[in-house]
């Protein structure tokens, strides 16, 4: 019997999923082939806003081209919110009457190969009368001028207000700091794009769809709504997925189109997104604007924050997250772990002629962290204190835990000030402060920056039902089965696409059943064989699926004990499960799990009379003790060198002090933090999808849309604090998004620390050299090179 100790919760276990990827055997959607499979290319809009006057199919090829007029009975995609005042949009799966963003699909072309389908697409003539495009989110409230959806009164999906009376504080606060802060629109850019293969299975009278998707059960629900087919007749399989990050957390119009086409043609059909489609039509996150004011006493102690925030939500409300989740979240999460008396916030979800937004890793938190952390530094400069000291003054102290903050968020645990103190030590702040007193030999300027965030993860029913969007997470389920040969099959409805769940959930099973992780098969990504789940989003899997696997394995354990107790004629409480065996404590009597399973399946005459009729298979649901979410958090500290002639920013050191509660697999956790941080560095310094005033996207290749490479991302040091969450199964907290939240704020604060003597303050991400040189030139302190 193999020694399976040391493979449970807390082990740095190598990943079970690695082998297939290392050998080029990942099963991604583009690798799926079917006999007779046809390929699809879409005709997409080249204008951001316009009225379609005509669509002419090429002569002789009419049967291979489909427009919305062909898709009879297919309903548009609608993602409403129950929040009062929300304006609904209706997204036809192929444009109908109007186009509302560059890249919106107008016609679907099918041929044997993608190249031939593209040839046909090039022959489709589309006559569009351009309309003035709505591209400025800050003008969304205007009731004059063009409207994205004509029947609306303005271009706002939703406005929210968090009211507070600030009159007294405004009159008396010693420090008042107001800033205009902006984050650029981005494309999440997983290395694999989206992709769909659809076919209709006559035998089962069922649509089978392979899609590169984070939440296959939600895709199934959405397909059912649009196509008018029962969910029971739709099977969605999300196989290996080459990165998600939020980009694959939606119902795609392409999925609806391909589903219809597979049924129409009675042939398998495939569409694989190319990078051009992704960048031009899928730049769909992070565009925030903040007009934010902080009020503090002379010491920098926060009294109130007043904020007017706008998020550019693009043209449509996407299914299931809706167009308002991100902006409305700003109103509830901006104060985060900071203690303040009053908070006032108005938010707007602006509707523009740009691609509709999706929640990208961190969702609104990356923008919110950028806004509040830049504000804290500005307050520190006014108070003439070290920015980290002002953070210590304002962060919730550990003795206040659990803590309800000003927006009534429930913080379950943690010591935020300690994370800051450890980061100050780890980055060696005093060393850099001393170095800043001298001129650098290369003329660059050194700066140190900090940022703190909290990440509400695995938030459930009590948070989501109020949004009233098409998806509300409830109990997360697991189905587990101890098979006849002693292998544990674990089925979950969430999806793993890099997060390592095939390994970490096996570790959970090991901790409870003592089974070797090699003998645990984690099965996910197939609506036909897994329990319903809202899928993978919101850093929820380790808390929710981890908890579900935990409670289900507990149930299996109980049943194994009952059977083994009868067979070995001992009391169930005297049994210990370890190393794949059921042992009688204090004796050398034992059975293997396989032997116990064998009795259930092959020798039922030996079972105890009170045996659970469910056998060695169970499906149980799980929710944390309170489902408002776990709060993981971190302090990021970074040192930069800024070249004021070239506008270049180099990261000299980067430290993260992070508290993710109990770590199920520290190696996987570190991987999530490293990867998230690299994305955050992209947000901070490189990644930006500019649109011109006509709504044209100005980056269409990875040579214009800059993703950070190995030379841009520094070695990052991660230090852990582990305050177990009192709410979850093992004390774990969700950590999947955190790395991507804090870097833009920390890096901007470091750049601003470096440039403060020159009177320059960067308030917009990404801090590209163009932006930096323009700010320096405006400050007039350094002649920027042309």
């Amino acid at each position: 019997m193999s020694n399976v100790a040391g493979k449970g919760v807390g082990a740095r276990l190598r990943r079970k999923e690695d082998a297939r990827f290392l050998h080029g055997q990942g099963e991604y959607v583009p690798n799926i082939a079917m006999v007779g499979m046809q390929n699809v290319a879409f005709v997409r809009s080249s204008v951001a806003h316009g009225r379609i006057k005509s669509i002419t199919k090429p002569a002789g090829l009419e049967d291979l081209v489909f427009t919305i007029d062909d898709l009879i009975g297919v309903k548009p995609i609608v993602a409403n919110s129950a929040l009062p005042g929300f304006k609904a949009s209706s997204q036809p799966v192929l444009a109908q009457g109007k186009v509302r963003f560059v890249g919106e699909m107008i016609a679907m072309c099918v041929a044997t190969t993608r190249a031939e389908a593209e040839d046909i697409a090039a022959l489709v003539e589309v006559d569009i009368e351009p309309l003035p495009a709505v591209t400025q989110m800050l003008m969304a409230r205007n009731t004059e001028g063009p409207r994205v959806h004509e029947h609306w009164s303005d271009n706002v999906f939703l406005e929210t207000k968090t009211e507070a009376d600030l009159t007294d504080i405004k009159a008396t606060a010693a420090i008042k700091v107001r800033r205009r802060i902006h984050t650029a629109r981005q494309c999440m850019a997983p290395m694999e794009g989206r992709g769909v293969v659809a076919t209709f299975e006559r035998r089962l009278d069922q649509l089978l769809m392979y899609s590169s998707a984070q939440m296959p059960h939600i895709n199934r629900a959405g397909l059912s709504e649009c196509l008018g087919i029962d969910q029971g007749r739709i099977r969605v399989v999300s196989p290996d997925v080459g990165g998600g990050f939020g980009y694959k957390a939606l119902l795609l119009a392409e999925e609806v189109c391909l589903a219809w086409l597979a049924m129409r043609l009675q042939k398998p059909v495939r569409w694989i997104e190319d990078r051009y489609e992704q960048l031009s039509a899928g730049a769909n996150c992070r565009e925030h604007d903040y007009d934010i004011t902080g009020y503090a006493d002379t010491n920098g102690r926060l009294l109130a924050v007043d904020c007017d925030a706008t998020v550019d939500s693009g043209a449509y409300s996407l299914y299931p997250f809706s167009a308002c989740l991100e902006a409305a979240q700003v109103g509830s999460i901006l104060p985060g772990p900071y203690v303040m008396e009053k908070f006032r916030c108005v938010t707007a979800s602006a509707c523009t002629n740009k691609p509709p937004i999706l929640p990208y890793r961190g969702v609104a938190r990356t923008g919110v962290c950028f806004a509040i952390e830049l504000l804290i530094d500005a307050i520190a400069r006014e108070a003439k204190r070290e920015p980290y000291e002002v953070r210590l003054t304002n962060l919730v102290p550990p003795e206040k835990m659990p803590f309800w903050n000003v927006t009534k968020k429930y913080f379950d645990s943690g010591d935020y000030p300690e994370a800051v103190r450890r980061a100050v030590t780890a980055i060696d702040l005093s060393k850099w402060r001393a170095r800043q007193q001298q001129d650098e030999p290369d003329g660059r300027r050194i700066g140190v920056g900090f940022s703190v965030y909290c990440e509400q993860a695995a938030h459930g029913t009590s948070v989501y039902y109020g949004w009233g969007i098409p998806m509300v997470p409830g109990h997360e389920q697991c189905n587990a089965r101890l098979s006849p040969d002693g292998v544990l099959e674990v089925r979950i409805g969430a999806h793993s696409h890099g997060q390592g769940l095939e390994t970490t959930l096996a570790q959970v099973a090991n901790s409870i059943l003592g089974i070797d992780t090699e003998n645990v098969r984690v099965i996910h990504g197939d609506t036909a064989v897994t329990p319903y789940s809202t899928g993978t989003w919101g850093s929820r899997c380790m808390v929710m699926s981890g908890g579900a696997v935990g409670v289900t394995c507990k149930e299996i354990e109980k049943r194994v004990r009952n059977i083994a107790a009868k067979l070995m004629e001992v009391a169930a409480v005297d049994l210990v499960l370890a190393d794949g065996e059921v042992r009688v404590a204090g004796t050398d009597k034992k059975m293997t799990l396989k032997e116990v399973a064998h009795v259930w399946y092959r020798q039922p005459q030996l079972l105890p009379p009170d045996v659970d009729t469910g056998g060695l298979e169970a499906t149980l649901g799980y929710k944390p003790l309170q489902d408002t979410g776990t709060f993981s958090y971190a302090c990021h500290a970074v040192v930069v060198a800024v070249d004021t002639e070239l506008g270049a920013v180099e990261i000299l050191d980067y430290v993260i002090v992070e508290d993710g509660g109990t770590l199920i697999n520290p190696m996987v956790v570190d991987g999530q933090i490293f990867g998230g941080t690299a994305q955050g560095i992209g947000t901070a310094l490189y990644e930006e999808m500019p649109f011109d005033l006509q709504g044209q996207p100005l980056a269409s290749t990875l040579a214009d849309y800059m993703l950070p490479g190995a030379t841009e991302v520094p070695p990052v040091r991660v230090l852990h604090m582990e305050t177990p969450s009192p709410l979850t199964f093992f004390g774990q907290k969700g950590i999947g998004e955190g790395g991507a939240i804090a870097p833009p704020a920390a890096i901007a604060n470091a750049v601003n620390d470096a440039l403060a003597p020159l009177g320059v303050e960067m308030l917009e991400s990404p801090i590209t050299s163009r932006r930096l040189l323009a700010a320096l030139a405006k400050a007039g302190t350094v002649a920027a090179r042309a």
Binding site: V241, G671, F674, G709
Partner: protein
């Protein structure tokens, strides 16, 4: 259509291809070697990196017809390669992959680094990796894995 002769993973093959077919599509769609992933089709991301005549090349911007007579190795063709074996071990030990999509291209570039630059330090490894994007790992594990194999080779 043009007929080409090409050796892929040790097996000589004849194929008739359209002039516009790139090498990545050729190995994936014609030979069903789907281990080579496509990330951008414009030569930036490195996901499609394979070995052509002994060196790493981007198969998305090479035309199959231009590879007439070439010897090609894809990720499926390194089963007996000791360096690749060591890299696979190291990638797993250092958590150098998450979603796995960049991994085949990354491994082929990594193998080239290990064989060509036995003394490469972290900085040099990072420079050499500049043409292979990974959206998941932040490169930490990848750099460590390559350095681990370089160090093993010095023993």
């Amino acid at each position: 259509m043009k007929t080409i002769s090409i050796t892929v993973n040790g097996k000589p093959a004849q194929a008739s291809v359209e002039p516009r077919t790139n090498l990545a599509d050729f190995v994936r769609e014609h030979l069903h070697l789907t281990g080579t992933n496509i990330g951008c089709e414009h030569g930036v991301c490195g996901a499609c990196t394979i070995e052509v005549d002994g060196g790493p090349a981007r198969s998305c911007i090479a035309y199959a017809v231009a590879c007439d007579g070439a010897t090609v190795r894809t990720i499926e063709g390194f089963a007996a390669d000791a360096t690749m074996h060591a890299l696979r071990e190291a990638f797993s030990a250092e958590h150098a992959l998450q979603c796995g999509y960049c991994t085949p291209g990354m491994l082929i570039t990594a193998r080239d680094i290990v064989l060509r630059l036995p003394d490469a330090d972290d900085g040099r490894v990072r420079e050499e990796l500049a043409g292979n994007l990974c959206r998941c790992t932040g490169y930490v594990g990848i750099v460590r894995a390559i350095r681990r194999v370089l160090e093993q080779n010095k023993l």
